[in-house]
């Protein structure tokens, strides 16, 4: 299955070059892959994975190891940021 994987702000450096221009990459995953496994696959620092959204909805840290991604979903991750 494939998901749309997006990394923003300082985390965009963890994307391969072809994904940096759009902050997004199509990622091939085996069935049953969790959010945490994707985070580990790309070597993202845990403390930098502050805002984790699946299809725009926030996933609390406690759920990330168990939540299995589905085909076509969008996983987006930001470090601690703010604005106003």
């Amino acid at each position: 299955m494939k998901i749309n994987f997006k990394l923003f702000a300082m985390l965009q450096d963890y994307l391969p070059a072809e994904g940096r221009r759009d902050n997004a990459l199509q990622v091939e995953l085996v069935e049953g892959t969790t959010i945490q496994q994707v985070i580990e696959r790309f070597g993202l620092p845990q403390k930098s994975c502050h805002l984790v959204l699946v299809n725009g909805s926030f996933i609390p840290p406690a759920d990330r190891a168990a939540l299995v991604l589905k085909d076509g979903e969008t996983l987006s991750i930001w470090p601690p940021i703010a604005g106003g």
């Binding site: 702000a9 959204l53 725009g56 926030f58 930001w78 940021i81 604005g83 106003g84």
Partner: protein
């Protein structure tokens, strides 16, 4: 004590400047800046006053921590009855002007009356005089600042001024200081223009020598700065990416108002985001973003300084715009961009530069363009009326409309009235995305429910800076709440409103609250100011200020009916994203909020509430 204890009262009608002692009894009840100046204002001005009449007053005010070594201690505010809203207005700005005013020895300047001819106020420490501004009238804020500095032969003179927008009666005109910092919302610059007051120039060499306990104060400020530096948001996120980093977050969440709130996601959001600002352009190989920037005493440095693409159609023959200058910040990028369906970063920066140069609020301007574009697409406004084709997505139209509004030409005069008056005139008041005639900022209240209540109950009209529940609902600061539910939002909004009232009254930037709570501000205030500033006292001051503003608005004629959102947000569900199918739950949240506030069903504070707060 941190206050200078000096108030400058400027009678523009008679051309006099007089010093008077600060009311220290009020300072203990309202702290400073937003709270204390509003206390002066509501005590001296009839709530029914026409905002543009000489009877309206305007107060430029610092806080007790302004000009001190506290982080972000460069803030000042402008308090008046807003031209755009007819409600209490308090617009807060950074830069260096506020600290300089304090260094000159003044807590606030109260402007009253109206000058017969254009003037500017010159302050050098305790010497204040009104000077002729005939040669500055009709000029931009940039020209005004440069000219005054040259005339004073002092580049360290700090200047705030209005541009042509304030002179021409654009209802959302700003007061600009230090080239690109703004007391931006509610039309405080319009009020300044109505008084024939072009600028205030100030030079202060006294510093702030009134700290109650300097040793304790320095210890408290050092500790608080460490909190900011160690926090990932204020120590890394904001300085690196600025506020603009929110563009993709809010879009992914389906909370980015797009095309006059028809949609909640913008397909070109990434093209106008912080990430895009940092990329090299194909045209010249340079990035839009040049550097970050800090206001006086700030250890966060969130500001953006950018250089526009010299080959872009908007500036191709205009070298005066090619230098590094302020922007884009998130709110401006959203209002000029997503709100109109425009994904051209350079066009947004050009319009933003015009807003700074001529002094008008990019949020209200951009949102008004969005309303005009919807009226155009519905066939209610024509190409002939507007003077151009103006469909959603037209970068050219945004740029030309900014020029027309800045100059007060053609359809720009109508855009300068704001979306409420524009949509009312053309028979579609429902298309104005406003509360109390002030345009929404960049968060859709169908997808971030707390922000709907924030907008509806903001005392200065729709505004995100009166209770930024985005911090909790989106960013998890200080704790994460679900943005899609209404439960708990009344208490959240009240807590944010009261705490923000304190920060706005202290002389510091509200962005510190991404890392600081009141518990971090309290020891700094208590060390600086006499009066035993406990947490309990600060909490009460915040609530007192919010209720005082409310009482003014009620007396001005506002009622519970004005604490509402446009019908679109209550009846047209979000089409995409996590909030798909949702409308705002404002009607559910408002009664609970009134109850928590101690207000009756009409939004009037009860006698018990007023008695408890000493109002």
């Amino acid at each position: 004590m941190a206050w200078t204890r000096n108030v400058l009262r400027v009678d523009l009608t008679n051309g006099t400047c007089k010093s008077e002692p600060l009311n220290m009894e009020w300072a203990q009840q309202y702290l400073g800046q937003r709270g204390l100046a509003t206390k002066y204002f509501v005590s001296e001005v009839d709530p029914k006053v026409d905002p543009l009449s000489p009877a309206n007053k305007m107060i430029m005010t610092t806080g007790p921590l302004t000009g001190t070594p506290v982080s972000t201690g460069g803030r000042y505010s402008v308090v008046t009855k807003g031209a755009l809203t007819g409600a209490i207005a308090c617009s807060n700005s950074g830069g260096y002007f506020g600290a300089e005013l304090k260094f000159a020895g003044w807590d606030m300047i109260i402007f009253e009356g109206k000058s017969l001819k254009p003037v500017y106020l010159s302050i050098v420490n305790d010497q204040a005089e009104l000077k002729d501004a005939a040669h500055l009238w009709g000029k931009s804020t940039w020209h005004t600042e440069e000219t005054i500095k040259k005339e004073h032969q002092d580049p360290l003179t700090r200047v705030c001024s209005i541009g042509r927008a304030g002179e021409n009666g654009v209802m959302y005109a700003c007061i600009i200081n230090d080239l690109h910092r703004a007391a931006g919302r509610s039309g405080v610059g319009t009020v300044m223009g109505s008084k024939n007051l072009k600028a205030v120039a100030v030079r202060g060499t006294n510093g702030v020598s009134t700290i109650r306990d300097p040793k304790a104060f320095m210890a408290a400020t050092v500790a608080a700065k460490k909190v900011l530096a160690d926090n990932a948001v204020t120590g890394q996120g904001l300085p690196t990416y600025g506020t603009q980093v929110l563009m993709n977050v809010i879009n992914e969440m389906g909370a980015l108002p797009t095309r006059n709130h028809r949609d909640v996601q913008f397909e070109e959001a990434r093209k106008i985001s912080a990430e895009a600002m940092a990329e090299k352009r194909p045209s010249d190989g340079k990035s839009h973003l040049v550097t970050n920037n800090a206001c006086f005493g700030c250890t966060i440095a969130c500001g953006r300084i950018s250089k526009i693409d010299e080959t872009h159609f908007s500036v191709v023959n205009k070298p005066e715009y090619w230098g590094a200058s302020g922007g884009l910040e998130y709110e401006a990028a959203w209002a000029l961009g997503a709100a109109n369906g425009v994904g051209d970063l350079e066009a947004l920066q050009y319009a933003n530069l015009l807003c700074n140069e001529e002094g008008f609020d990019p949020i209200s301007f951009g949102a008004t363009v969005g309303a005009a574009m919807e009226l155009y697409e519905l066939g209610i406004l024509t190409k002939e009326q507007i003077g151009m084709e103006a469909p959603f997505g037209s970068a050219k139209a945004v740029c030309e409309m900014a020029e027309m509004t800045a100059r007060g030409e053609g359809f720009g005069k109508e855009l300068g009235q704001g979306s409420a008056r524009l949509c009312e005139k053309y028979g579609r008041p429902d298309l104005s995305m406003t509360v109390k005639k002030q345009e929404f900022p960049a968060y859709d209240s169908r997808a971030i429910q707390g922000m709907g209540l924030t907008y509806a109950t903001s005392n200065r009209g729709a505004c995100h800076l009166r209770s930024y529940t985005v911090a909790s609902e989106v960013l998890g600061i200080p704790f994460k709440t679900d943005p899609l539910v209404t439960e708990g939002k009344a208490g959240l909004v009240k807590a944010f409103q009261d705490a923000t009232s304190v920060f706005d009254s202290a002389g510091v930037c509200v962005f510190t609250t991404f890392a600081w709570s009141l518990a971090d501000l309290q020891p700094q205030l208590d060390a600086a100011c006499e009066g035993n500033w406990t947490m309990e006292k600060l909490a009460e001051v915040g609530e007192r200020i919010y209720n005082m503003e409310r009482l003014f608005n009620n007396a001005a004629g506002f009622t519970a009916k004005d604490d509402d959102l446009p019908p679109r947000l209550k009846t047209e569900a979000a089409k995409t994203g996590p909030a798909k199918g949702l409308v705002s739950g404002i009607d559910k949240m408002r009664p609970e909020y009134y109850q928590l506030r101690g207000w009756d069903e009409q939004g009037v504070p009860s006698k018990e509430t007023l008695g408890r707060l000493g109002l």
